[in-house]
């Protein structure tokens, strides 16, 4: 069964620092990849997604992620974080085995950006 690993559980950065959050998945077939964000007191919302084409995906609020098929990875990046990026970030995958329906999520990374 598909699984998703997010190796950083808690990350603390100062404003303007660069961010990279790791995400690895286990299933090697055709996958769709997502990053969701949950700001304090808010519901999950989509940051960006990849399902084909250019492996470098740009999302909202200056975030981007790169799909590296050979490494089964989809790491999230932002060159300069802001205090308002404080949130929990979830990587998620769906795949052909489940008809690309159910999402399998990682355990999440809590990001705290200090002003």
């Amino acid at each position: 069964a598909q699984s998703v690993s997010q190796h950083n559980h808690h990350v603390i950065l100062s404003e303007a620092a660069s961010l990279e959050l790791g995400c690895n998945y286990s299933y090697g077939g055709t996958v769709n990849l997502f990053w969701y964000v949950q700001y304090p007191g808010q519901h999950l919302q989509l940051l960006l997604k990849y399902f084909s084409g250019d492996p470098l995906v740009k999302g909202i609020k200056g975030f981007e992620a790169e799909f590296i098929k050979s490494k089964f990875s989809f790491n999230l990046r932002k060159p300069s974080v802001q205090w308002s990026d404080t949130a929990e970030y979830f990587c998620a995958v769906n795949d052909r085995n489940t008809g690309f329906q159910k999402l399998v999520f990682g355990t999440g990374t809590r990001l705290l950006v200090s002003p």
Partner: protein, 115 residues
């Protein structure tokens, strides 16, 4: 509607009681998903509806859990004989047609506490 709505936002019940959690998807969305998020974990898939039918219920943990979507819009997740281990945030999501790569839009969740 503007987004996915879920009621109640919080539910406290006693062990052994029956609970119903409601989800109202985005208007026109045919696909509806239920996930469960325990403390410190990412959301875990429970069940997926395409229209009125449950297309994949492989994530339901046992036969105490049941969900319906009788008219292809609102869905109710039903939990019988609740146990303390059922305490979690229950998330509902919808997407326009349930095909691969679509964004799933999440509601705010129902926080269930079983005493």
């Amino acid at each position: 509607g503007a987004g996915v709505s879920q009621t109640p936002s919080n539910k406290v019940t006693e062990k052994g009681k029956y609970v119903e959690l409601r989800c109202d998807p985005i208007s026109g969305h045919t696909a509806l998903y239920w996930y469960r998020q325990s403390l410190g974990q990412g959301p875990e898939f429970l069940i997926y509806f395409q229209g009125t039918g449950a297309a994949d219920d492989s994530g339901l943990p046992n036969d105490r859990f049941f969900a319906v979507r009788p008219e292809g819009s609102v869905s109710t997740l039903k939990i019988q004989r609740t146990e303390r281990g059922d305490s979690a945030v229950y998330l509902c999501a919808s997407s326009s047609s349930g095909t691969g790569g679509e964004t799933q839009y999440f509601g705010p969740g129902t926080r269930l506490l079983v005493l």
